[in-house]
Amino acid sequence: MTKEPLSTDATTQVRAGDTIAEFVSTSKQYGAVLAADRLSLRIRRGEFLSFLGPSGCGKTTALRMLAGFESPTDGGVLIDRKDVSKVPAYKRPVNMVFQQYALFPHMTVAQNVGYGLRQQRPRMPKAEIAAKVQKALATVRLEAFGPRRIWEMSGGQQQRVALARAIVNEPKILLLDEPMAALDAKLRSEMQHELLALQRSLGITFVLVTHDQEEALAMSDRICIMGKGRIAQVGTPQDLYDRPRSRYVADFVGKANILEAQLTRVQGDTGTATLANGIAVHPQVFAGDTAPRKAEIAIRPEVLSLAAAGAPLPEGTAALPARITHRTFLGDHTEYLLVAEGIGPLQVNVPRQAERVLGGHDVEAMVQILWPAGTGLVLAAEATTA
């Protein structure tokens, strides 16, 4: 695999203004439905960006506005600093891998892959087209399949043909519309690795649309989480997992316990909050948050741990008395569902190794949920209702 200038560290080396595409307060209205609501987002050159969200959140609309299949009803779409809002798809330097691949059934694999090159004016010489097609097929490991008909190919192979058909044109941005949705689980993870390797070696900007959070987490440099036509939050996968600004994002990326609390004090990046049962905890806060106010705290199930009732507490750890209602053994960890007194249902994931050392807990047992200081996150004030 060739190393090109825009390889693995492409996103960490993004220079200021190195934006390949941009949504500028872009809206799309279908009749009474606002499918995209004032999207503002910069897509960086060479990055792997995912639009993540449930169906109907506007992620596909955003992608289709980049591709040129939809034009925004308000605001603009820039590609390479040029406003392309009114530029039709066939004049845009982007290519798309469609959800059901949309391969032309009346053409062979090679004819499909060469389709984009054949449209170029002035015409590209036939020999050059053939060479490029062969190279693209080799990239997706289908060298020998050029003369095949589309329906002779398996789902995974068709997906790779679709990929070759797009990258052969050397687009500035490769758009992927849920490309893995039609593949089975095993093939999907293989394809994820292949796509990632391809993106690293080609250095092309990839924009993926998916509703599968694991897929987005595994592949993206950055994820744009969408809901109800709006951008909920943009960030790296870790950022979104560790620092979700809203309940929507906390719920969508991984699992989260959300607790109502009264934020009483903010000191630097830590706050003091009183839970509904009167116990004080010390979660992280976003910069600029102010107390006192009503707040929601998100805490991941694996951050909490369990101890027998009455066991001594480590320094700075809050303890919530709770009763275990369900215990599900999941191999590498065990999932406990509990009802905490005065709070309600909570989930705690205990790693298998910790349970081996400290022992498990039985259903109906009364235990303490341990909440270490500096864990959990007070969700941003403006985002709690989103």
Binding site: A89, Y90, N169
Partner: protein
Amino acid sequence: MRLYALAVYAFLYLPIAIIALFSFSAGRSAASLQGFSVHWYHKALHNPFVLEALWTSVRVAFLSALLATIAGTLASLALTGMRGRVRAIFDTLVQVAVMIPGIVIGIATLIALVSVFDLVNPWLEPLTGLKLSLGTGSLVAAHGLFTMSLVILLVRGRMESLDPALIEASGDLGATPVATFFQVTLPQILPAIMAGFLLAFTFSFDDFIIAFFVAGSDTTLPIYIFSSIRRGVTPEINAIGTMVMGASLTILIVAQVMLRRSQAQPRP
């Protein structure tokens, strides 16, 4: 149940089979089999009236099918681009047009054509010396109009099952709308268009009722057969009928195969 089905099929097809069988009779009676010969085929194919009627029929069928195919395909493409109510109204009208009895269409077309001729001829004749009248032209027009709805039905069906992502993919890959039409849309709907042409051809070739009203002094093959029967049914009529039926069936089967192929093609 199986017996019942057999009885129904026998009722439907036995008379036709008997005509085909009797057409090979060596005798002079059209209603019995006397020996075996292809004498009557030979006679039919050397009858100048039959040949002239056949030529008229083929010409009318070809021209009207061509007209119906071009106009019907264009209409289908336009309808696919339309939205909501307008499209629903047109689709319904097209379906209704297929179900209107031939005799109604025949009378209606005749009245319409004659009215138009009465209106146009007083102006046209002094200017150009031409006079519009019933004949091949009116046959082509009437058949083309009716069979256009058949073509629209077929092509619309194919367009509906066409994956819109194919069109988008073509545009995405840099093809202009015109290039997309010729490289993606047309190859995808071509089998339906050709099946439509063949159906339209068969319909026009076989049609008696509409032709009877608008043919004027021209004679198509079905009209010739009808008028011959008045002079008595001969095995020659049986032979002509069998040939017409054979040709029509062949064309229909080809059309069916084409449609099947276009639909059986697995979609990715």
